[in-house]
């Protein structure tokens, strides 16, 4: 039986009030945005805050500015971002990532902030209370052992957000606000390679907005592997952002950031693979080398859907496909793309 535990609901009007409420609530409190992740988790007792601080009515969380760069409020729903044609045209990779998240009704509720702070996932954790109790709880919640890697002192639950790898690839910056003040950090620094403490965000901080880099000359894309064209979380994803020294796809690479999603507890930045590309055009050889280097970082564990060996094998080809797309080869023909809500629409380099 899935019921929410008893809780108190607080409805602040401003970011400042929200931060104050969060500080007051201490470890008992949690922010509620769309609730599409938090509420099901609470029903399964994976998370048990007693005080929910609702962000729906908070002013100032829904900024949407697009000039040379973009600033997006954490409270924007995924659907609002998808409906913003100018934003999607400026950052096609963003559009891909957002369009691939869950389903239209969930995108109507789910927010950017909630997605970036999405709890990590694991087959042994995303289960009913009964189920977890039956095999005995694990480290991540109420237990003392990790069922995926029993000898391990840490939790390996998987970062499953579609926006997180993209934001890291873009080199976006996020703003966090608490009763003490405000700080800004690189998206990359928001994530920690730990299934339990997966965010560097302090418990009293509200993520308020995200700043994207200038879009002129930026090439970005996002590819996602999953069984179906809707609903499913990524079991492997690739976010890639490049700038070339010239307008043509065969110009040498000036800057490259490749990120793997859903292969570890945080988005994995393949810095070495990116560096391999710099100064060279996106030749098949360069692509192969970068893909191989990045794929070495994909060390998925057996705690999501799909057979492990298959997921491991997919990393290289998916990275290569992303790079070919950014070279200007056109959207990759993969089934999962056709299904990710981008059927029939051009989505080449930007």
């Amino acid at each position: 039986m899935m019921r929410l535990p008893r809780l108190r609901y607080v409805a602040p009007r401003t970011i400042r009030e929200a931060a104050a409420a969060l500080a007051d609530a201490g470890p008992e409190g949690a922010l509620l945005a769309g609730g599409t992740d938090l509420l099901p988790n609470m029903k399964r007792r994976q998370q048990v805050p007693r005080i929910l601080i609702g962000l729906r009515g908070v002013q100032g969380l829904r900024v949407r500015e697009l000039g040379e760069a973009a600033r997006l409020g954490a409270g924007l729903t995924l659907s609002e971002m998808l409906r913003d044609a100018a934003l999607c045209a400026a950052y096609p990779g963003l559009r891909r990532a957002v369009a691939s998240i869950s389903t239209p009704p969930l995108r109507n509720m789910g927010t950017l902030g909630g997605n970036l702070c999405l709890d990590t996932r694991c087959n042994y954790y995303n289960q009913s209370l009964e189920w977890r109790k039956a095999i005995d709880f694990c480290l991540k919640k109420d237990g003392t052992i990790c069922w995926v890697a029993p000898a391990s002192p840490r939790c390996w639950a998987v970062s499953s957000s579609d926006m997180a790898p993209l934001m890291v690839a873009l080199g976006a910056r996020v703003t966090l606000q608490s009763a003490q003040g405000e700080r800004e950090l690189a998206a990359e620094a928001l994530y920690v390679d730990d299934g339990i403490a997966y965010l560097s965000r302090r418990p009293d901080e509200v993520l308020t907005d995200v700043v994207l880099p200038p879009h002129a000359g930026l090439r970005c894309t996002y590819l996602k592997l999953r069984r179906r064209g809707a609903f499913d979380f990524p079991v492997l994803s690739v976010a890639a952002a490049l700038r070339l020294d010239g307008d043509h796809g065969d110009a040498p690479v000036r800057e490259a950031r490749l990120v793997l999603g859903a292969v570890g507890s945080h988005p994995v930045l393949a810095a070495e693979a990116g560096a391999l590309l710099v100064g060279r055009p996106l030749s098949e050889e360069a692509i192969r080398e970068a893909a191989e280097a990045a794929a070495r970082l994909a060390k998925p564990l057996d705690n999501t859907d799909y057979a492990l060996g298959w997921r491991k094998r997919m990393a290289g080809p998916l990275i290569a496909a992303a790079l070919r797309e950014l070279r200007g080869d056109g959207p990759p023909p993969h089934g999962e793309l056709a299904r990710a809500g981008v059927r029939g629409r051009p989505s080449g380099a930007c």
Partner: protein, 743 residues
Amino acid sequence: MPLVGTPVPRLEAPDKVTGAACYVDDFALPGMIYGVTVRSPGPRGRIRRIRLGDGIPWEEITVVTARDIPGDNVVALINDDQPCLAAEVYNHAEEAVVLLAHRDRALLERARRQVHLDVEPLPPVLTIDDALAAREVIWGTDNIIKSYLVEQGDVEAALREADLVVQGEYETGAQEHLYIEPNGMVAVATPEDGVTVWGSLQCPYYVQKALMRLFRLPPERTRVVQLETGGGFGGKEDYPSMIAAHAALLSWKAGGVPVKIVYDRTEDMLATTKRHPSRTRHRTGLRRDGTLVALDIDFVIDGGAYSTLSQVVLSRGTIHAAGPYRCDNVRIRGRAVATNTPPRGAFRGFGAPQSLFALERHLDVVARAAGLPPEELRRRNFIRRGERLAVGQQVRDGVDLPALLERALQVSGWTERKNRFRQENQRGTIRRGLGLSCFLHGTGFTGSGESHLASTVALEGTAEGRVRVLTSSTEIGQGTNTIFSQIAADALGVGGEIIEVPRPDTAAVPDSGPTVASRTCTIVGKLIETAALSLRQQLLEEGLLPLPYTTGDFQAACAAYVRQRGALRATARYQPPPGIHWDEVRFRGDAYGAYSWAVYVAQVRVDLCTYQAQVEEFWTVQEVGRVVNPTLAAGQIEGGVAQAIGWALYEHVAWQEGRMANCRMTDYIIPTTMDIPPIHVWFEEAPYPYGAFGAKGLGELPMDGPAPAILNAIHDALGVSICRVPATPEVIYDALSREEALV
């Protein structure tokens, strides 16, 4: 204007879309309390003791065990081997052992966790091979629930003389129904007033039969009322008897307080039935010209811990195993075995999808071996009118398989597309292929089933000049009420607005049989047609009806009849079509009154980067007799194809120690709208004289053909034969690795 053949909108649709429809979860009685089920911990064991833990006010909670059953502890169906509550032993995971009821659902949940079962595990039998090896015997003397043998000609001799012999082994997995509404029942039961249950179900009289035996009650004190039912697909054929029995036992013990049990999705997936997994071995002999000379088929299905409907699933699967082909030497050995898994039950297609998957997949392998295009091999062996199927049945309907095949090849642009794909597949990482399947599906119950059922329907004219169609056939989302009103209206020669189809209630409707086996429209509909003609005849004979007459005249005549002579009622009872004979002992004869025939084509793309297969387009050509309602019929075909795509590519039941491990919709993957291609539907109509207005069965047909067509298309795309469903990316990857054909 006749209604049959027109797209009359579904009668119950407005209630469903406005939320007015009352499903079991919406249904409440004063003072109603809730029931939950405590289930066995593992696949097989002995129950030593049931302990009630601390901290629960047990005196407030109704607790029922097998000892509280007033009659026999069985869910009566065919063999009556399944207990309603496990007593000394349990034979599968999630078997019901203890029932609890209370008003407070939160307390009930806590109490459920405080019921401790002390058990002694026994070694389980979990696979078909384990069952056949019979080192542990869990059912009968050899774990074989039922076996059939169909034999014609001399298979061994024909195989020896054949120019070519091709062997193959094919497997299909379990499948969960995932009807949109989980199982649920409300019951009121007392020794004085008997038992009444309301709930989500397909077969009211099956539930009644089970309750009578369990409570030792006569039919008139055992009442079953259907509520709006959110889908069934066979999953509400036998299990509602179990859950109705549980709710009724709780109510009985609680002194007649109404008790409701509604499963949540996880419990429904864990405890209720699934499609039978299967394994089929083929040995096929042919002549150089592609003529099939021998079909040797070994078909095994896994029935789970109790027999439920396995023997009838097996009989349909066995009869369909040789498909729509002519062959002089055929041997089909069909066996249903028991394993320590939750019993498998009815699921759209009822055994035929499994055996037809094997056959139609195998024929593509055979065609390659014979150097023939797959369509040509089939064309050369199609059964024709007047020829005999493997069970000896002479085909009498106007079947024209070559024409269906031609149509399918033409509408799908088969040759042109094949050529194009052959070119395109040279480049890039996408491989496209086309595959087809040719098949048949028997209308109604197998063998003498319909004669044993002897279904009855009644039509009643009312004082208000309306006509009520009384049957036990349930509306479960497929359109029963709509087609019944169309059939009744046309047979009476009136407008549909005066026809009422009340929801089945065993206290008010005759037994028109279960709502299964693609029988409702054709067989029960025919009885309605017959009863309607006799009702009209009564009015004519009494001189109350002028000729010609309007709907208004008819209403006036009904009203006058009721005023002058009392109840106006006509009934009809099933009679087998003339010349139909079935020999159950020899398992030979006319297995079905009629067959529907079809040719399906699938276009599939396989991504060599991710190994994912996706159906891109689907063409269906079928001959189903007269189409009573084109929208509903096309809906059945499209829905069936979608469900079969799930079975073919996505739906994998992960078994762990005989228990479904992925019992949530997060990880039991069914296709979404994004994964379903355009599905083209063509009907050929050759009216069947013994079906309502010429209709044959069509609801299950679309489940039979897609899986082999899709896997044949994968074979065409990759040149690699995959012999099991679901063909997930992992399976395709493995197959390619084995063939060392990785690019």
